[in-house]
Protein backbone atom coordinates (compact mmCIF):
# COMPACT_ATOMS: atom_id res chain seq x y z
CA UNK A 1 0.00 0.00 0.00
CA UNK A 2 1.39 3.41 -0.84
CA UNK A 3 1.80 6.15 1.71
CA UNK A 4 -0.94 8.37 0.31
CA UNK A 5 -3.53 5.72 0.85
CA UNK A 6 -2.21 4.97 4.32
CA UNK A 7 -2.35 8.65 5.17
CA UNK A 8 -5.93 8.80 3.95
CA UNK A 9 -6.87 5.79 6.05
CA UNK A 10 -5.23 7.15 9.20
CA UNK A 11 -7.03 10.47 8.93
CA UNK A 12 -10.32 8.87 8.10
CA UNK A 13 -9.93 6.62 11.13
CA UNK A 14 -9.07 9.63 13.26
CA UNK A 15 -12.17 11.50 12.14
CA UNK A 16 -14.48 8.57 12.69
CA UNK A 17 -12.81 7.75 16.00
CA UNK A 18 -13.16 11.21 17.49
CA UNK A 19 -16.75 11.55 16.33
CA UNK A 20 -17.61 8.23 17.90
CA UNK A 21 -15.80 9.21 21.10
CA UNK A 22 -17.84 12.39 21.47
CA UNK A 23 -21.04 10.60 20.63
CA UNK A 24 -20.13 7.86 23.12
CA UNK A 25 -19.55 10.39 25.89
CA UNK A 26 -22.94 11.96 25.21
CA UNK A 27 -24.61 8.58 25.30
CA UNK A 28 -22.80 7.68 28.51
CA UNK A 29 -23.91 10.90 30.21
CA UNK A 30 -27.48 10.25 29.14
CA UNK A 31 -27.17 6.65 30.32
CA UNK A 32 -25.95 7.69 33.79
CA UNK A 33 -28.58 10.33 34.39
CA UNK A 34 -31.33 8.12 33.06
CA UNK A 35 -30.20 5.09 35.03
CA UNK A 36 -29.80 6.98 38.27
CA UNK A 37 -32.44 9.63 37.75
CA UNK A 38 -35.33 7.79 36.19
CA UNK A 39 -36.22 5.62 39.21
CA UNK A 40 -36.69 8.64 41.45
CA UNK A 41 -38.34 10.72 38.75
CA UNK A 42 -42.01 10.97 39.52
CA UNK A 43 -44.90 13.29 38.77
CA UNK A 44 -44.43 14.58 42.28
CA UNK A 45 -40.87 15.69 41.38
CA UNK A 46 -42.02 18.00 38.62
CA UNK A 47 -45.34 19.15 39.98
CA UNK A 48 -44.56 20.06 43.59
CA UNK A 49 -42.31 22.34 45.50
CA UNK A 50 -40.20 20.81 48.28
CA UNK A 51 -42.10 20.09 51.45
CA UNK A 52 -40.70 20.04 55.00
CA UNK A 53 -38.38 17.09 55.00
CA UNK A 54 -37.55 17.11 51.27
CA UNK A 55 -33.82 17.32 51.82
CA UNK A 56 -34.03 14.34 54.14
CA UNK A 57 -35.69 12.23 51.50
CA UNK A 58 -39.33 12.98 52.21
CA UNK A 59 -42.11 14.27 49.96
CA UNK A 60 -41.96 17.13 47.57
CA UNK A 61 -40.52 18.00 44.20
CA UNK A 62 -38.33 20.54 42.48
CA UNK A 63 -40.99 22.61 40.75
CA UNK A 64 -39.43 25.64 42.44
CA UNK A 65 -36.15 25.04 40.61
CA UNK A 66 -37.80 24.22 37.30
CA UNK A 67 -39.89 27.38 37.34
CA UNK A 68 -37.00 29.43 38.66
CA UNK A 69 -34.72 28.30 35.87
CA UNK A 70 -37.36 28.92 33.21
CA UNK A 71 -38.14 32.43 34.50
CA UNK A 72 -34.49 33.22 34.74
CA UNK A 73 -33.58 32.07 31.27
CA UNK A 74 -36.62 33.59 29.65
CA UNK A 75 -35.98 37.08 30.95
CA UNK A 76 -32.24 36.80 30.42
CA UNK A 77 -32.69 35.78 26.80
CA UNK A 78 -35.11 38.62 26.16
CA UNK A 79 -32.76 41.17 27.73
CA UNK A 80 -29.74 39.76 25.93
CA UNK A 81 -31.52 39.81 22.57
CA UNK A 82 -32.48 43.42 23.09
CA UNK A 83 -28.83 44.23 23.67
CA UNK A 84 -27.09 41.84 21.28
CA UNK A 85 -29.06 42.47 18.10
CA UNK A 86 -28.42 46.24 18.10
CA UNK A 87 -24.75 45.64 18.93
CA UNK A 88 -24.36 43.28 15.99
CA UNK A 89 -26.19 45.68 13.70
CA UNK A 90 -23.88 48.47 14.80
CA UNK A 91 -20.75 46.36 14.35
CA UNK A 92 -21.69 45.16 10.90
CA UNK A 93 -23.79 47.80 9.26
CA UNK A 94 -23.03 51.13 10.85
CA UNK A 95 -19.34 50.73 11.36
CA UNK A 96 -17.26 49.82 8.41
CA UNK A 97 -16.74 46.07 8.22
CA UNK A 98 -13.07 46.24 8.99
CA UNK A 99 -12.69 49.30 11.14
CA UNK A 100 -10.28 49.22 14.02
CA UNK A 101 -13.01 49.74 16.56
CA UNK A 102 -15.07 46.79 15.35
CA UNK A 103 -11.99 44.55 15.50
CA UNK A 104 -11.38 45.73 19.04
CA UNK A 105 -15.03 45.21 19.99
CA UNK A 106 -14.96 41.66 18.59
CA UNK A 107 -11.83 40.90 20.57
CA UNK A 108 -13.56 42.21 23.68
CA UNK A 109 -16.53 39.95 23.10
CA UNK A 110 -14.22 36.99 22.64
CA UNK A 111 -12.58 37.77 25.95
CA UNK A 112 -15.97 38.14 27.64
CA UNK A 113 -17.01 34.86 26.03
CA UNK A 114 -14.11 33.14 27.71
CA UNK A 115 -14.65 34.52 31.20
CA UNK A 116 -15.69 31.76 33.61
CA UNK A 117 -19.26 31.96 34.79
CA UNK A 118 -18.28 32.17 38.46
CA UNK A 119 -16.60 35.49 37.65
CA UNK A 120 -19.87 36.79 36.23
CA UNK A 121 -21.55 35.54 39.37
CA UNK A 122 -19.09 37.39 41.57
CA UNK A 123 -19.29 40.50 39.40
CA UNK A 124 -23.09 40.42 39.48
CA UNK A 125 -22.89 40.01 43.23
CA UNK A 126 -20.74 43.14 43.65
CA UNK A 127 -23.14 45.13 41.51
CA UNK A 128 -26.02 43.93 43.64
CA UNK A 129 -24.24 44.92 46.82
CA UNK A 130 -23.51 48.30 45.31
CA UNK A 131 -27.21 48.83 44.61
CA UNK A 132 -28.18 47.31 47.93
CA UNK A 133 -29.98 44.37 46.36
CA UNK A 134 -30.24 40.94 47.87
CA UNK A 135 -30.00 37.61 46.10
CA UNK A 136 -33.06 37.70 43.86
CA UNK A 137 -34.54 36.67 40.55
CA UNK A 138 -33.57 40.10 39.27
CA UNK A 139 -29.94 39.66 40.31
CA UNK A 140 -29.88 36.25 38.67
CA UNK A 141 -31.31 37.64 35.47
CA UNK A 142 -28.63 40.31 35.32
CA UNK A 143 -25.80 37.85 35.97
CA UNK A 144 -27.10 35.31 33.45
CA UNK A 145 -27.64 38.06 30.87
CA UNK A 146 -24.03 39.14 31.34
CA UNK A 147 -23.00 35.55 30.81
CA UNK A 148 -24.96 34.98 27.62
CA UNK A 149 -24.69 38.35 25.89
CA UNK A 150 -21.20 37.58 24.53
CA UNK A 151 -22.39 34.16 23.37
CA UNK A 152 -25.27 35.75 21.55
CA UNK A 153 -23.32 38.60 20.01
CA UNK A 154 -20.65 36.30 18.73
CA UNK A 155 -23.01 33.80 17.19
CA UNK A 156 -25.27 36.40 15.56
CA UNK A 157 -22.17 38.21 14.37
CA UNK A 158 -20.96 35.08 12.59
CA UNK A 159 -24.05 35.17 10.38
CA UNK A 160 -24.25 38.93 10.07
CA UNK A 161 -20.76 39.04 8.55
CA UNK A 162 -22.07 36.90 5.71
CA UNK A 163 -24.87 39.30 4.77
CA UNK A 164 -24.06 40.53 1.26
CA UNK A 165 -23.65 44.26 0.68
CA UNK A 166 -25.98 43.79 -2.27
CA UNK A 167 -28.87 43.09 0.08
CA UNK A 168 -28.35 46.41 1.82
CA UNK A 169 -27.94 48.21 -1.48
CA UNK A 170 -30.97 46.49 -2.95
CA UNK A 171 -33.22 47.69 -0.15
CA UNK A 172 -31.67 51.14 -0.09
CA UNK A 173 -32.02 51.58 -3.81
CA UNK A 174 -35.74 50.95 -3.41
CA UNK A 175 -35.81 53.97 -1.16
CA UNK A 176 -35.60 52.27 2.21
CA UNK A 177 -34.28 54.22 5.17
CA UNK A 178 -31.60 52.78 7.45
CA UNK A 179 -34.19 51.51 9.88
CA UNK A 180 -36.20 49.79 7.15
CA UNK A 181 -33.03 48.23 5.80
CA UNK A 182 -32.20 46.88 9.23
CA UNK A 183 -35.62 45.25 9.44
CA UNK A 184 -34.87 43.34 6.25
CA UNK A 185 -31.46 42.38 7.58
CA UNK A 186 -32.92 41.09 10.83
CA UNK A 187 -35.28 38.98 8.79
CA UNK A 188 -32.36 37.54 6.88
CA UNK A 189 -30.61 36.92 10.20
CA UNK A 190 -33.48 35.07 11.86
CA UNK A 191 -32.05 31.56 11.51
CA UNK A 192 -28.81 32.87 12.98
CA UNK A 193 -30.65 34.57 15.80
CA UNK A 194 -32.55 31.41 16.67
CA UNK A 195 -29.29 29.46 16.80
CA UNK A 196 -27.86 32.14 19.05
CA UNK A 197 -30.86 31.91 21.37
CA UNK A 198 -30.46 28.16 21.47
CA UNK A 199 -26.80 28.34 22.38
CA UNK A 200 -27.36 30.92 25.05
CA UNK A 201 -30.30 29.07 26.57
CA UNK A 202 -28.08 26.01 26.78
CA UNK A 203 -25.31 27.93 28.41
CA UNK A 204 -27.49 30.05 30.68
CA UNK A 205 -29.93 27.49 32.00
CA UNK A 206 -27.30 24.97 32.92
CA UNK A 207 -25.00 27.33 34.70
CA UNK A 208 -24.85 27.08 38.47
CA UNK A 209 -21.98 29.39 39.28
CA UNK A 210 -23.55 32.61 38.03
CA UNK A 211 -26.73 32.15 40.03
CA UNK A 212 -25.09 30.83 43.20
CA UNK A 213 -24.66 34.28 44.75
CA UNK A 214 -27.00 36.30 42.63
CA UNK A 215 -30.26 34.38 42.56
CA UNK A 216 -29.84 32.51 45.81
CA UNK A 217 -31.96 29.50 46.57
CA UNK A 218 -35.41 29.04 48.01
CA UNK A 219 -38.05 26.37 48.31
CA UNK A 220 -40.84 28.47 46.90
CA UNK A 221 -41.56 29.73 43.41
CA UNK A 222 -40.71 33.44 43.15
CA UNK A 223 -43.68 35.74 42.66
CA UNK A 224 -41.71 38.93 42.15
CA UNK A 225 -38.37 40.01 40.77
CA UNK A 226 -37.01 40.85 44.19
CA UNK A 227 -37.50 37.38 45.64
CA UNK A 228 -34.71 34.85 45.53
CA UNK A 229 -35.23 31.90 43.27
CA UNK A 230 -34.12 28.29 43.02
CA UNK A 231 -32.50 26.99 39.85
CA UNK A 232 -32.02 23.50 38.49
CA UNK A 233 -28.21 23.47 38.50
CA UNK A 234 -28.20 24.49 42.16
CA UNK A 235 -30.94 21.97 42.94
CA UNK A 236 -28.65 19.31 41.51
CA UNK A 237 -25.68 20.68 43.40
CA UNK A 238 -27.39 20.84 46.82
CA UNK A 239 -29.02 17.45 46.53
CA UNK A 240 -25.91 15.75 45.26
CA UNK A 241 -23.94 17.03 48.24
CA UNK A 242 -26.41 15.43 50.62
CA UNK A 243 -25.27 12.30 52.45
CA UNK A 244 -28.68 10.68 52.02
CA UNK A 245 -28.77 8.37 49.03
CA UNK A 246 -32.38 9.05 48.14
CA UNK A 247 -31.68 12.76 47.91
CA UNK A 248 -28.61 12.08 45.80
CA UNK A 249 -30.69 10.08 43.35
CA UNK A 250 -33.10 12.96 43.13
CA UNK A 251 -30.17 15.10 41.98
CA UNK A 252 -29.87 12.78 39.01
CA UNK A 253 -33.52 13.08 38.23
CA UNK A 254 -33.18 16.87 38.43
CA UNK A 255 -30.31 16.55 35.96
CA UNK A 256 -32.55 14.47 33.75
CA UNK A 257 -35.25 17.12 33.88
CA UNK A 258 -32.72 19.83 33.02
CA UNK A 259 -31.42 17.81 30.08
CA UNK A 260 -34.91 17.13 28.81
CA UNK A 261 -35.80 20.83 29.03
CA UNK A 262 -32.70 21.77 27.04
CA UNK A 263 -33.38 19.07 24.45
CA UNK A 264 -36.98 20.15 24.12
CA UNK A 265 -35.99 23.77 23.65
CA UNK A 266 -33.37 22.83 21.06
CA UNK A 267 -35.64 20.64 19.05
CA UNK A 268 -38.49 23.11 19.05
CA UNK A 269 -36.20 26.01 18.17
CA UNK A 270 -34.74 24.00 15.34
CA UNK A 271 -38.17 22.99 14.14
CA UNK A 272 -39.46 26.54 14.16
CA UNK A 273 -36.42 28.04 12.56
CA UNK A 274 -36.59 25.45 9.80
CA UNK A 275 -40.26 26.06 9.27
CA UNK A 276 -39.73 29.74 9.32
CA UNK A 277 -36.85 29.68 6.90
CA UNK A 278 -38.88 27.54 4.54
CA UNK A 279 -41.58 30.12 4.43
CA UNK A 280 -39.65 33.28 4.47
CA UNK A 281 -36.14 32.84 3.29
Amino acid sequence: MNTKKLEEKIFKGLMIGSSLLIFGVLLYILYIIIKKGLPSLSWEMISQIPSGGFYLGKEGGILNAIMGSLYLIFFSVVISLLISVPVVMYLNFTLRKKSRFSAFARLTFDVLFGIPSIVYGAFGFTIMIFFGLQASLFGGIIAVSLLIIPVMIRSIDEVAILIPVELIEATKSLGATNYETIKVIVRQLLPGISTAVLLSVGRGIGDGATVLFTAGYTDSIPTSLTQPTATLPLAIFFQLSSPIEEVQNRAYSAALILTVIILMLSFSARYFSRRFSKNKI
Binding site: P164, E166, L167, A170, S173, L174, G175, R187
Partner: protein, 279 residues
Protein backbone atom coordinates in the same frame (compact mmCIF):
# COMPACT_ATOMS: atom_id res chain seq x y z
CA UNK B 1 -27.21 67.07 -51.15
CA UNK B 2 -29.33 63.99 -50.80
CA UNK B 3 -32.19 63.65 -48.40
CA UNK B 4 -31.72 61.21 -45.63
CA UNK B 5 -34.81 59.13 -45.20
CA UNK B 6 -33.86 56.86 -42.33
CA UNK B 7 -34.37 58.32 -38.85
CA UNK B 8 -30.74 59.04 -38.35
CA UNK B 9 -29.43 60.98 -35.41
CA UNK B 10 -27.69 63.88 -36.94
CA UNK B 11 -26.49 65.92 -34.02
CA UNK B 12 -24.40 63.95 -31.56
CA UNK B 13 -24.43 64.51 -27.85
CA UNK B 14 -21.06 65.81 -26.96
CA UNK B 15 -19.24 66.33 -23.73
CA UNK B 16 -18.77 69.99 -24.47
CA UNK B 17 -22.50 70.56 -24.72
CA UNK B 18 -23.94 68.88 -21.65
CA UNK B 19 -27.44 70.28 -21.92
CA UNK B 20 -27.74 69.91 -25.63
CA UNK B 21 -31.02 68.72 -27.04
CA UNK B 22 -30.84 65.91 -29.51
CA UNK B 23 -33.12 65.61 -32.45
CA UNK B 24 -33.94 62.02 -33.11
CA UNK B 25 -35.85 62.11 -36.37
CA UNK B 26 -39.37 62.29 -35.10
CA UNK B 27 -39.10 63.57 -31.54
CA UNK B 28 -36.66 65.48 -29.42
CA UNK B 29 -34.86 63.92 -26.49
CA UNK B 30 -34.55 65.63 -23.19
CA UNK B 31 -31.60 65.32 -20.89
CA UNK B 32 -32.55 63.24 -17.87
CA UNK B 33 -29.34 62.92 -15.94
CA UNK B 34 -26.76 65.63 -16.29
CA UNK B 35 -23.32 65.17 -14.83
CA UNK B 36 -21.21 68.29 -14.42
CA UNK B 37 -17.54 68.22 -13.50
CA UNK B 38 -17.98 65.15 -11.36
CA UNK B 39 -14.90 64.08 -9.46
CA UNK B 40 -14.87 61.13 -7.11
CA UNK B 41 -12.07 60.25 -4.75
CA UNK B 42 -11.93 56.96 -2.90
CA UNK B 43 -9.41 56.89 -0.07
CA UNK B 44 -7.60 59.78 -1.74
CA UNK B 45 -7.41 58.06 -5.12
CA UNK B 46 -8.84 60.05 -7.95
CA UNK B 47 -11.33 57.55 -9.36
CA UNK B 48 -13.48 59.73 -11.58
CA UNK B 49 -11.93 62.75 -13.27
CA UNK B 50 -14.06 65.65 -14.44
CA UNK B 51 -16.93 63.71 -15.86
CA UNK B 52 -19.35 65.71 -17.95
CA UNK B 53 -22.16 63.82 -19.49
CA UNK B 54 -25.79 64.15 -20.42
CA UNK B 55 -27.95 61.11 -20.44
CA UNK B 56 -31.07 61.54 -22.53
CA UNK B 57 -34.35 60.15 -21.30
CA UNK B 58 -36.32 57.23 -22.71
CA UNK B 59 -33.35 55.53 -24.22
CA UNK B 60 -30.64 53.03 -23.36
CA UNK B 61 -27.26 54.45 -22.50
CA UNK B 62 -24.43 51.96 -22.07
CA UNK B 63 -21.29 52.80 -20.19
CA UNK B 64 -18.42 50.72 -21.46
CA UNK B 65 -14.76 50.55 -20.65
CA UNK B 66 -12.13 48.26 -19.20
CA UNK B 67 -12.31 47.00 -15.61
CA UNK B 68 -11.45 49.56 -13.00
CA UNK B 69 -12.18 52.54 -15.21
CA UNK B 70 -14.84 53.87 -12.88
CA UNK B 71 -17.99 52.77 -14.69
CA UNK B 72 -19.63 51.31 -11.60
CA UNK B 73 -18.51 54.19 -9.40
CA UNK B 74 -20.18 56.58 -11.79
CA UNK B 75 -23.37 54.55 -11.95
CA UNK B 76 -23.58 54.27 -8.19
CA UNK B 77 -23.18 57.99 -7.78
CA UNK B 78 -26.43 58.45 -9.70
CA UNK B 79 -28.50 57.18 -6.81
CA UNK B 80 -26.12 58.18 -4.07
CA UNK B 81 -25.11 54.69 -3.09
CA UNK B 82 -21.74 56.06 -2.04
CA UNK B 83 -23.39 57.90 0.83
CA UNK B 84 -22.69 55.25 3.41
CA UNK B 85 -19.06 54.91 2.48
CA UNK B 86 -17.01 57.46 4.36
CA UNK B 87 -13.98 56.80 2.13
CA UNK B 88 -15.71 58.30 -0.87
CA UNK B 89 -15.50 62.02 -1.53
CA UNK B 90 -17.64 63.48 -4.26
CA UNK B 91 -17.13 66.84 -5.96
CA UNK B 92 -19.18 68.25 -8.77
CA UNK B 93 -22.80 68.30 -9.66
CA UNK B 94 -25.32 65.73 -10.69
CA UNK B 95 -28.73 66.76 -11.90
CA UNK B 96 -31.68 64.46 -12.23
CA UNK B 97 -34.66 66.13 -13.86
CA UNK B 98 -32.83 69.38 -13.42
CA UNK B 99 -32.56 68.92 -9.69
CA UNK B 100 -29.15 68.78 -8.04
CA UNK B 101 -29.12 65.54 -6.06
CA UNK B 102 -25.99 66.25 -4.05
CA UNK B 103 -27.26 69.19 -2.06
CA UNK B 104 -27.73 68.97 1.67
CA UNK B 105 -31.49 69.31 1.41
CA UNK B 106 -31.93 66.48 -1.05
CA UNK B 107 -33.81 63.64 0.48
CA UNK B 108 -31.90 60.56 -0.49
CA UNK B 109 -34.87 58.18 -0.42
CA UNK B 110 -36.65 60.48 -2.85
CA UNK B 111 -33.72 60.25 -5.29
CA UNK B 112 -33.51 56.51 -4.95
CA UNK B 113 -37.20 56.07 -5.49
CA UNK B 114 -36.69 57.59 -8.90
CA UNK B 115 -34.19 54.92 -9.85
CA UNK B 116 -34.32 51.18 -9.89
CA UNK B 117 -30.98 49.45 -9.47
CA UNK B 118 -30.18 46.09 -10.95
CA UNK B 119 -27.04 44.62 -9.46
CA UNK B 120 -24.63 42.19 -11.02
CA UNK B 121 -25.91 39.30 -9.00
CA UNK B 122 -29.62 39.35 -8.34
CA UNK B 123 -30.27 39.91 -4.68
CA UNK B 124 -33.72 38.84 -3.64
CA UNK B 125 -34.96 40.03 -0.27
CA UNK B 126 -35.57 37.38 2.39
CA UNK B 127 -39.29 37.14 1.77
CA UNK B 128 -41.79 35.68 -0.65
CA UNK B 129 -41.88 36.45 -4.35
CA UNK B 130 -44.86 38.75 -4.08
CA UNK B 131 -43.47 40.51 -1.01
CA UNK B 132 -40.28 41.16 -2.93
CA UNK B 133 -42.14 42.97 -5.68
CA UNK B 134 -44.32 45.03 -3.37
CA UNK B 135 -41.56 45.81 -0.88
CA UNK B 136 -40.90 49.19 -2.46
CA UNK B 137 -44.53 50.25 -2.84
CA UNK B 138 -45.14 49.21 0.77
CA UNK B 139 -42.24 51.36 1.92
CA UNK B 140 -43.71 54.28 0.12
CA UNK B 141 -47.07 53.87 1.75
CA UNK B 142 -49.16 51.78 -0.62
CA UNK B 143 -51.60 49.72 1.43
CA UNK B 144 -54.33 47.21 0.73
CA UNK B 145 -53.86 43.62 -0.36
CA UNK B 146 -55.80 43.95 -3.59
CA UNK B 147 -53.84 46.99 -4.67
CA UNK B 148 -50.48 45.43 -3.83
CA UNK B 149 -51.43 42.23 -5.60
CA UNK B 150 -52.32 44.22 -8.71
CA UNK B 151 -48.99 46.03 -8.62
CA UNK B 152 -47.16 42.71 -8.26
CA UNK B 153 -49.09 41.14 -11.09
CA UNK B 154 -48.58 44.09 -13.36
CA UNK B 155 -44.82 44.23 -12.81
CA UNK B 156 -44.34 40.48 -12.98
CA UNK B 157 -46.18 40.45 -16.28
CA UNK B 158 -44.01 43.31 -17.46
CA UNK B 159 -40.83 41.32 -16.85
CA UNK B 160 -42.35 38.12 -18.24
CA UNK B 161 -42.21 36.27 -14.97
CA UNK B 162 -45.91 36.08 -14.19
CA UNK B 163 -46.66 32.80 -15.91
CA UNK B 164 -43.69 31.15 -14.24
CA UNK B 165 -44.52 32.24 -10.70
CA UNK B 166 -48.25 32.93 -10.52
CA UNK B 167 -48.90 29.65 -8.72
CA UNK B 168 -46.23 30.17 -6.12
CA UNK B 169 -46.27 33.83 -5.27
CA UNK B 170 -46.00 32.98 -1.59
CA UNK B 171 -42.86 30.87 -1.86
CA UNK B 172 -39.51 32.40 -0.93
CA UNK B 173 -37.89 34.35 -3.72
CA UNK B 174 -34.67 32.44 -3.16
CA UNK B 175 -36.24 29.34 -4.69
CA UNK B 176 -36.23 30.98 -8.12
CA UNK B 177 -33.43 30.41 -10.59
CA UNK B 178 -30.84 33.13 -10.87
CA UNK B 179 -32.24 34.39 -14.17
CA UNK B 180 -35.73 34.50 -12.72
CA UNK B 181 -34.40 36.30 -9.66
CA UNK B 182 -32.84 38.97 -11.84
CA UNK B 183 -36.18 39.52 -13.55
CA UNK B 184 -37.82 39.59 -10.13
CA UNK B 185 -35.33 42.26 -9.07
CA UNK B 186 -36.22 44.25 -12.16
CA UNK B 187 -39.92 43.90 -11.34
CA UNK B 188 -39.14 45.00 -7.78
CA UNK B 189 -37.31 48.02 -9.12
CA UNK B 190 -40.11 48.88 -11.54
CA UNK B 191 -42.71 48.60 -8.80
CA UNK B 192 -41.56 51.81 -7.13
CA UNK B 193 -42.41 53.54 -10.41
CA UNK B 194 -38.97 54.91 -11.09
CA UNK B 195 -37.98 57.03 -14.05
CA UNK B 196 -34.56 55.54 -14.43
CA UNK B 197 -33.27 51.99 -14.41
CA UNK B 198 -29.63 51.55 -13.52
CA UNK B 199 -28.02 48.25 -14.41
CA UNK B 200 -24.61 47.35 -13.07
CA UNK B 201 -23.51 44.53 -15.34
CA UNK B 202 -26.98 43.22 -14.80
CA UNK B 203 -26.62 40.26 -17.11
CA UNK B 204 -23.07 39.16 -16.44
CA UNK B 205 -24.00 36.50 -13.89
CA UNK B 206 -26.75 35.06 -16.04
CA UNK B 207 -26.85 32.32 -18.61
CA UNK B 208 -27.17 33.42 -22.27
CA UNK B 209 -30.91 32.83 -22.44
CA UNK B 210 -31.75 34.70 -19.24
CA UNK B 211 -29.42 37.46 -20.23
CA UNK B 212 -31.14 37.73 -23.60
CA UNK B 213 -34.51 37.97 -21.84
CA UNK B 214 -33.24 40.80 -19.65
CA UNK B 215 -31.75 42.59 -22.65
CA UNK B 216 -35.03 42.37 -24.51
CA UNK B 217 -36.79 43.70 -21.44
CA UNK B 218 -34.54 46.72 -21.41
CA UNK B 219 -35.44 47.38 -25.01
CA UNK B 220 -39.15 47.02 -24.25
CA UNK B 221 -39.13 49.34 -21.27
CA UNK B 222 -37.05 52.10 -22.78
CA UNK B 223 -40.20 53.78 -24.06
CA UNK B 224 -41.09 54.58 -20.51
CA UNK B 225 -37.79 54.63 -18.67
CA UNK B 226 -34.31 55.95 -19.02
CA UNK B 227 -32.02 52.95 -18.89
CA UNK B 228 -28.36 53.31 -17.94
CA UNK B 229 -26.29 50.16 -18.13
CA UNK B 230 -22.75 49.43 -17.19
CA UNK B 231 -21.59 46.58 -19.32
CA UNK B 232 -18.47 44.59 -19.99
CA UNK B 233 -19.84 43.00 -23.11
CA UNK B 234 -19.30 45.16 -26.13
CA UNK B 235 -21.67 43.05 -28.11
CA UNK B 236 -24.44 43.75 -25.65
CA UNK B 237 -23.84 47.45 -25.97
CA UNK B 238 -23.90 47.11 -29.75
CA UNK B 239 -27.15 45.19 -29.60
CA UNK B 240 -29.18 47.44 -27.36
CA UNK B 241 -27.52 50.81 -26.78
CA UNK B 242 -28.87 54.05 -28.16
CA UNK B 243 -26.04 56.00 -26.62
CA UNK B 244 -22.65 54.82 -25.50
CA UNK B 245 -20.18 56.31 -23.08
CA UNK B 246 -16.65 55.02 -23.25
CA UNK B 247 -14.60 55.46 -20.12
CA UNK B 248 -10.95 54.86 -19.57
CA UNK B 249 -8.87 55.38 -16.41
CA UNK B 250 -11.56 57.44 -14.72
CA UNK B 251 -12.15 59.73 -17.64
CA UNK B 252 -15.00 59.92 -20.06
CA UNK B 253 -13.24 59.47 -23.37
CA UNK B 254 -16.14 59.60 -25.73
CA UNK B 255 -19.88 59.87 -25.59
CA UNK B 256 -22.17 59.55 -28.53
CA UNK B 257 -24.84 57.59 -30.25
CA UNK B 258 -24.20 53.91 -30.65
CA UNK B 259 -23.80 54.26 -34.35
CA UNK B 260 -21.37 57.09 -34.05
CA UNK B 261 -19.26 55.53 -31.34
CA UNK B 262 -19.08 52.05 -32.79
CA UNK B 263 -18.81 52.94 -36.44
CA UNK B 264 -17.03 56.25 -36.45
CA UNK B 265 -15.18 56.63 -33.16
CA UNK B 266 -13.34 59.90 -32.93
CA UNK B 267 -10.87 58.99 -30.29
CA UNK B 268 -7.98 56.63 -30.89
CA UNK B 269 -8.56 54.90 -27.52
CA UNK B 270 -12.18 54.23 -28.36
CA UNK B 271 -11.17 52.86 -31.71
CA UNK B 272 -8.71 50.47 -30.09
CA UNK B 273 -11.12 49.40 -27.39
CA UNK B 274 -14.03 48.58 -29.65
CA UNK B 275 -11.82 46.75 -32.06
CA UNK B 276 -10.58 44.62 -29.19
CA UNK B 277 -7.15 46.21 -29.03
CA UNK B 278 -7.13 46.07 -25.25
CA UNK B 279 -9.48 45.08 -22.53
Amino acid sequence: MELITAPLITVPLTIEQPKFKVMNGSHSLNPHIVVENLNIFIKGNHILKDINMTIPDKSITCIIGPSGCGKTTLLRSFNRLHDDNVDVKIKGKLFVDGEDIYTKDTEVTHIRKKMGLLAQRPCSLPMSIIDNVVYGPRLHGVRGRRKLYEIARHQLVAVGLWDEVKDRLKTPASTLSIGQQQRLCLARGLAVEPEIILGDEATSALDPISSKTIEELFVTIKDKYTVVLVTHTLRQAKRIADYVAFMYMGELVEFGTADQLFNHPKNQLTKEYISGGFS
